[in-house]
Amino acid sequence: MSTIREGAAQVPAEKRPGVWTRTRRGRTALLYLLPSFILFGVFVFYPMFRTIYLSFFLTDQRGDAAVFVGLDNYRYLLESAAFLNSAKATILFVLYTVPAGVVIALFLALLANEKLKGIGFFRTVYSSTMGVSVAAASVVWLFMFHPSIGMFNRFLALFDIGQIQWLLDPDWALFSVAISTIWMNTGFSFLILLGGLQNIDEHLYESAKIDGAGYFYQLRRITLPMLSPTLFFIITISLINAFQSFGQIDILTKGGPAQSTNLIVYSIYREAFVNYQFGTASAQAVFLFLCILVVTILQFKFGERKVHYQ
């Protein structure tokens, strides 16, 4: 803190230091914070406030705010059957993908954590979906779901089971997209969870073994509690990812059939860049932001209590 001392030395002893001098610390701190303020301001806060601003307007064909409508966009959304359907589809999608994705990744991570010969190969395979882009993976799945030449339907035909219109039947489409999403996300979750497992101290297991604890007892009392910070991280990230899924929807179903996979993010995209209604699109974006915010806050409030930090 040499600067402060130097600064103090310059002030005559009988006078109280002026505002300029007294705020010196604060100003120094602000100077250091400035870069991140600028970055956040330009790339986060400005777009965010712009979105909120636009959500009170109807926009013209160029996307400029044209007619002020107050809260009408929000009112319209809450009354619109299409939007409520999007909200419902989004919630269902989150419920389909997050728990299943985390459980599968955890299962694979536990398997791959065993010290066996050649385990490196399996670890690579299990995490390999992380290296596949959403677009490429979606195209592959698109072919597997194909109504006439798809692998799944051919497989079903082998056993003489009726054909399923994977992506064309509104009852199946969301489920099909969820399956491919789980597949895409598993690699990342697996890798993080495996890292968490490797970090658990071996001695804990050794002492447990000496005490005669079985595998599942160890899993419940040592592995899961020690892994809980990682699990918490993965669940939070998976939730946010699920809320924001876009690429696979765009490629697999384009929000169809009969709007059954029109998740909020896709609905925002369509409203903004196909229909050029930036106003209603912004209102949806604000709504989605609030949803994610609430879910994340709830999670930190209730979920984090169970987390065991070392």
Binding site: S2, P35, G63, V67, P147, S148, I149, K254, N275
Partner: protein, 460 residues
């Protein structure tokens, strides 16, 4: 302490650098935009982009992929070699929708391409945008003879007697059917079903365990066509041609006919739903999963080539109680930018003229299956040869030439067409799930009306 602060400083400097890099990430684009700003301040007169050979160079944005792109590149090259003043550079910009999205953000600036291809339903948007120079101006100045072009195609792109854009790739819908399947079902393969009732009857006979009778891509365009061929309007104000449309009217008796027609077959189990993807429905046809389907005339060549059976082509069906009115032109046209240098506009105009010559149109027609907008192309030898081999091509040309010109077959003019088509897709999907035809149509009209209302409200 000192060290720690130094670290922060370095970090701050780094952050600033990153920031600077972000704002200036495109070194090529930056100086150009500066130059633009300068030239715009100096005066109205724009400098034409001239390349090192002293030729005027213009960009041509298009949305043709695959075979269309190859053909278009070859045509542009031919143009560049045919004269020594202009160079046209074709640039693929993604689908029609994507191209229009890019155009929306760049339109009206000097970076906009001189020439761009916009799909038919973007017509109203382009006219309203103020970014474009109607080609009528050059037609008048140049004394270009429009009568050599196909009248039914010109009709679509003419508004108030003025031609705004040069038609280029035009297609119409056509009914394609599997002649072998017709024979097996005991139907006459040379006589395609003409009315809705005929199609319903034929598909019930064609239906087998493996094969559906009829299918249609879940796409608004086909609905518009089936509506128009019965003489039904899509929106009020004479399909938006007499004034700004304020309401959609496609839920009238003609629209209902179409939805009932599809609903009947869907309920009978003779209609196959292959979704919203062109490739899927085409694959279904050529792999024998459906006996009849509607395709674009631009898809005929491919259907014939990839199907192991004989393919028939016919006019699209119409409701039994009305006479056939004909089809609306689909596809795209070429638009010229406003606010660019005169020489660049001239280059764009010369290229348009080159494109509409019979020889080029003949090549384009055969390469892609799109119509020749210059009917003289059909007299070219290469076209005659191909037609003798594939008479299916001729069906589409006949269907277009039999079309009665009217506001119905001119097609609707609304700026919110993409949104409206989405409404139709949703309506069709709900219909296939067993919803009531009138109800889903009414919902689609309601959604379209809201879009029209907002567009009218914000564009005053």
């Amino acid at each position: 302490m000192k060290k720690w602060r130094f670290g922060l400083l370095v970090m701050a400097a780094f952050v600033m650098l990153v920031l600077a890099a972000c704002t200036n990430s495109d070194p090529d684009a930056a100086p150009e935009t500066d130059a633009d700003a300068d030239s715009q301040e100096e005066g109205e007169q724009q400098e034409a982009a001239v390349n090192e050979d002293g030729k005027v160079e213009i960009e041509f944005w298009h949305a043709m992929s695959g075979g269309g792109q190859e053909s278009l590149d070859a045509i542009a090259e031919g143009f560049n070699e045919s004269q020594d003043k202009y160079v046209v550079k074709p640039e693929f910009q993604g689908s029609y929708e994507e191209l229009l999205t890019k155009l929306r953000s760049i339109g009206g600036t000097k970076d906009a391409p001189a020439l761009m291809q916009v799909f038919e339903i973007g017509t109203k948007y382009m006219i309203d945008s103020g970014y474009i120079e109607p080609v009528q101006k050059f037609i008048d100045e140049d004394g270009y003879d429009l009568s050599q072009l196909e009248e039914n195609i010109l009709n679509y792109y003419s508004v108030d007697g003025e031609l705004y854009s040069m038609p280029f790739n035009s297609s119409t819908p056509v009914l394609l059917y599997n002649k072998d399947a017709f024979r097996e079902a005991g139907l006459d393969p040379e006589k395609a079903p003409e009315t809705f009732a005929d199609v319903i009857h034929a598909s019930s006979q064609l239906k087998t365990d493996e094969m559906y009778g009829f299918s249609m891509l879940t796409y608004g365009w086909f609905f518009e066509e089936l509506l128009a061929t019965q003489g039904g309007l899509y929106v009020n104000e004479e399909n938006g041609r007499a004034g700004n449309a304020t309401e959609a009217v496609f839920n009238g008796p003609e629209g209902l006919n179409v939805f009932r027609f599809l609903d009947t077959m869907n309920k009978e189990g003779t209609f196959g739903n292959f979704g919203t993807n062109w490739d899927d429905i085409r694959a279904a046809f050529s792999s024998g999963k459906v006996a009849m389907y509607m395709d674009s005339s631009a898809g005929i060549a491919n259907a014939i080539e990839s199907s192991p059976f004989e393919v028939g082509a016919a006019y699209i069906p119409h409701a039994d109680e009305v006479k056939r009115h004909g089809v609306i032109i689909g596809g795209a046209s070429l638009w010229m930018s406003k606010g660019i240098a005169d020489e660049e506009q001239q280059a764009a105009w010369e290229f348009m003229k080159y494109l509409t010559t019979p020889e080029i149109q003949a090549k384009w027609h055969l390469d892609t299956g799109y119509f020749a907008i210059n009917p003289d192309a059909y007299e070219e030898d290469i076209v005659k040869e191909k037609w003798a081999e594939y008479p299916q091509f001729q069906v589409t040309v006949n269907q277009l030439q039999d079309t009665e010109p009217s506001v119905v077959t001119q097609g609707a003019l609304i700026s919110v067409f993409p949104e409206s088509r989405q409404q139709i897709v949703t309506a069709l999907e709900n219909l296939y799930q067993g919803a009531d035809p009138q109800q889903v149509l009414d919902e689609a009209v309601e959604g379209t009306n809201r879009a029209i209302e907002i567009a009218n409200q914000t564009n005053q």
